[in-house]
Subunit: 428 residues, 2 copies
């Protein structure tokens, strides 16, 4: 299932890979003669898809998975997440939490994630140890944290990391101003200037809740997207995360400026944020990607779940059972994310010249039979548990459902220590 | 997680089972001395939950899984499902399709299902072969099928089956008039009389789509629930499936009459039927159960998925992140279904005296760590792939994720033949 062209399902095909890149996509019977001497992996009953791109997460927050459920966004943030972060978040917390996130994501076919969190250098370290591709937010927020003292400090630290990691082929960077209600006009102006200068995406939570919009109207006299427009932030570099509450004009605005939307269906439901108008966004031509959000508000980093939820919700929201068909959900989970991150030339589809980020999904199980339409099964019936093999840039990371390297060897014990600490017991 | 009392999580506990029934729930350290000589199964890192009750499905339709996706309900029924049924549905189709459904459901922790389909004797045969508990609809619909010629014939055949199977401890029966738009007043009156006489539940699709309600207003001058009320069908025996489009008075009506609602979140989304007001129903005191619907409109018979979707959707629909917390979703998936089926005295919770329908879920995996709240993980983070052991009436049906008997030995080959036939190739 190469994703390009849209909806294509090639049967009896092979993918030739060389030096981490896709060399050819061709009928299996031609593969041995055209590529003699290549190591061969036969997956006769599998679907091969591009690696899934988790276009919005806070990876380290896996350490808070299930810590405070069934609460509204602002209470969840103000009474639980922010206090826990103030007490516990450190370089080590981010490294261990991100490594746990990578373990979960790799097993579930995610080969690239777009992260927004404190200590991005620790998140990058974990991603590289795990062998995932990752985009890291140069996070900026008005309040101080263990990571940085003020907006200037956040930006400086993030840009320094980008300079240091510039040559790392699996790493990329975005600006990540947290949200309209936590970032000032002055900081947004700096981000707009820097983003244009460096041609980097701007990754931001926006129009997530009604309260956010009401607060913006009270404090700035306009809704958040209009405020961002005035501050020069609407462009193909904008990654608008959530985008739940949009009127018709705002959908057109996003389309006209070539912005991307990252849809996080599980998170939007769990925090009671609402229902994003995904069919209308797709109809308007907006690039839609999918994200899990952090494990504290989902509680799984499972892009199969997000594909299925996105495809199903789009139908009920649009009153149209034909909205977001299976192939559109797969596109959002792969090429949509790649495009949002500015990586569509390198990843997101199985096309010669792109990186060999590939995922094999075993379609032979009682719950996946009979099989009339493999794309339908991939989105509506299969789950991450059917992933058997994952390659990132041609390197095998998951083999028969198990980790192919020892990056995660001591992780379980470290996670247990964090669990003890966050639950208020003795810990690191 | 015994479900009764609500929200309870007992740690370091054991369940004693004797002759298919739960004898005691007690601290593990007391188990060996109080029940010497009992065979012991130690599941140190697992959650033990009551067997899941799938309160609405058309099990045999697994054979149509993914046959026609991304279509609205009436087109899906009229252009795809009904023609395929007219051509293929037979006793053998129902037996094989139901056996496939049982394989999928058992692996996913479902120990009881409520079925509505043609040839219920074949469905019952499959369920007993698989070792599942099942409730079978005495289906009635105005149009003829390969199974029966007219409403009288449907009722007669269903009642005969109930008489024959009366002593089978794993079987029970409901009347199953298909829907308000396919059943006449005369037939509904007969069902109401028989249901009261025999004290059997009445299992019906109702208020599923706006079109159904409009059609009822045009043809009967009232909305479907009001029509059912006038026909004497609102009672604690009514199992109202879908119940998507309800006004405030209808919610009160269902509560006042003690009716049960079976919520089918995936199906309601996939067919773009809408969003059932589950938090409002729960607030009104209506018993809510969960169902997967058939695999043709879901496309999985996965009660973990339905629990998670129900809990998440309830929050966004009610604009309240505290709506349907995890323990309420687990209750709906177990005791709620048992109550709807009139089986709450026998199944639905881990309570001494009830049948030993039990499911063990392994909570030790990267995607389930850390663990602060096991109930939260069960609903929000775990999936059916974490089910390791399933007992029905004390009999082990799934051991370490694999079938414990050979009921499914030749199933794969038979499903392949049906797939060929339904896809238009040579077949049975």
């Amino acid at each position: 299932m190469p994703v390009e062209p849209a909806g294509a399902v090639l049967t009896e095909h092979a993918v030739a890979v060389r030096e981490g890149a896709i060399e050819a996509v061709l009928p299996t019977h031609e593969a041995a003669s055209r590529f003699p001497g290549y190591q061969s992996v036969e997956l006769a009953r599998h679907a091969l898809i591009p690696g899934l791109v988790n276009a919005h997460t806070h990876a380290a927050m896996t350490l808070m998975r299930g810590l405070a459920d069934d609460l509204p966004l602002m209470r969840w943030l103000e009474e639980h997440v922010w206090p826990a972060e103030a007490r516990h978040v450190s370089r080590e917390f981010v490294r261990d939490g991100t490594l746990l996130a990578c373990a979960e994501m790799l097993r579930g076919g995610v080969t690239c994630f777009n992260d927004m969190y404190f200590f991005p250098e620790a998140a990058l370290e974990a991603a590289l140890a795990a062998g995932l591709r990752s985009a890291h937010g140069i996070i900026v927020i008005e309040f101080p944290s263990a990571y940085a003292s003020d907006p200037g400090d956040y930006l400086r630290k993030g840009l320094e990391l980008r300079d240091r990691a510039g040559d790392e082929p699996l790493a990329s960077f975005c600006f990540a101003p947290h949200a309209p209600y936590t970032v000032s006009d002055e900081t947004f102006r700096k981000v707009a200037t820097l983003s244009a200068e460096l041609d980097l995406p701007v990754h931001i939570h926006v129009h997530e809740t009604r309260e956010e919009i009401e607060r913006s109207l009270a404090e700035h006299g306009v809704r958040p997207l209009e405020r961002l427009r005035r501050l020069g932030l609407l462009s193909p570099n904008l990654i608008a995360v959530h985008a739940v509450h949009l009127d018709e004009l705002e959908i057109q605005l996003l389309a006209r400026h070539g912005c991307s939307v990252v849809h996080c269906p599980s998170s939007n439901l769990k925090l009671a944020s609402g229902f994003a108008p995904i069919a209308a966004l797709l109809d308007a031509g907006v690039n839609v990607a999918l994200g899990t959000d952090g494990a504290a508000s989902n509680n799984r980093l499972d892009m199969f779940q997000e594909m299925r939820s996105a495809a199903l919700l789009a139908k009920a929201v649009a009153h149209d059972a034909q909205a977001m068909p299976a192939h559109a959900a797969l596109r959002a989970a792969t090429l949509g994310g790649a495009q949002a991150l500015g990586l569509a030339e390198r990843i997101g589809s199985i096309v010669p010249g792109k990186c060999a980020d590939l995922v094999a999904v075993d379609l032979c199980a009682p719950e996946l039979t009979p099989l009339y339409d493999a794309l339908s099964h991939l989105v509506y019936a299969a789950g991450r548990e059917h992933v058997t093999h994952v390659w990132v840039a041609g390197e095998l990371r998951i083999r028969d459902g198990c980790f192919a390297n020892d990056a995660f060897a001591s992780l379980e014990a470290r996670v247990q220590l964090w669990q003890n600490a966050l639950a208020g017991l003795a810990g690191p």
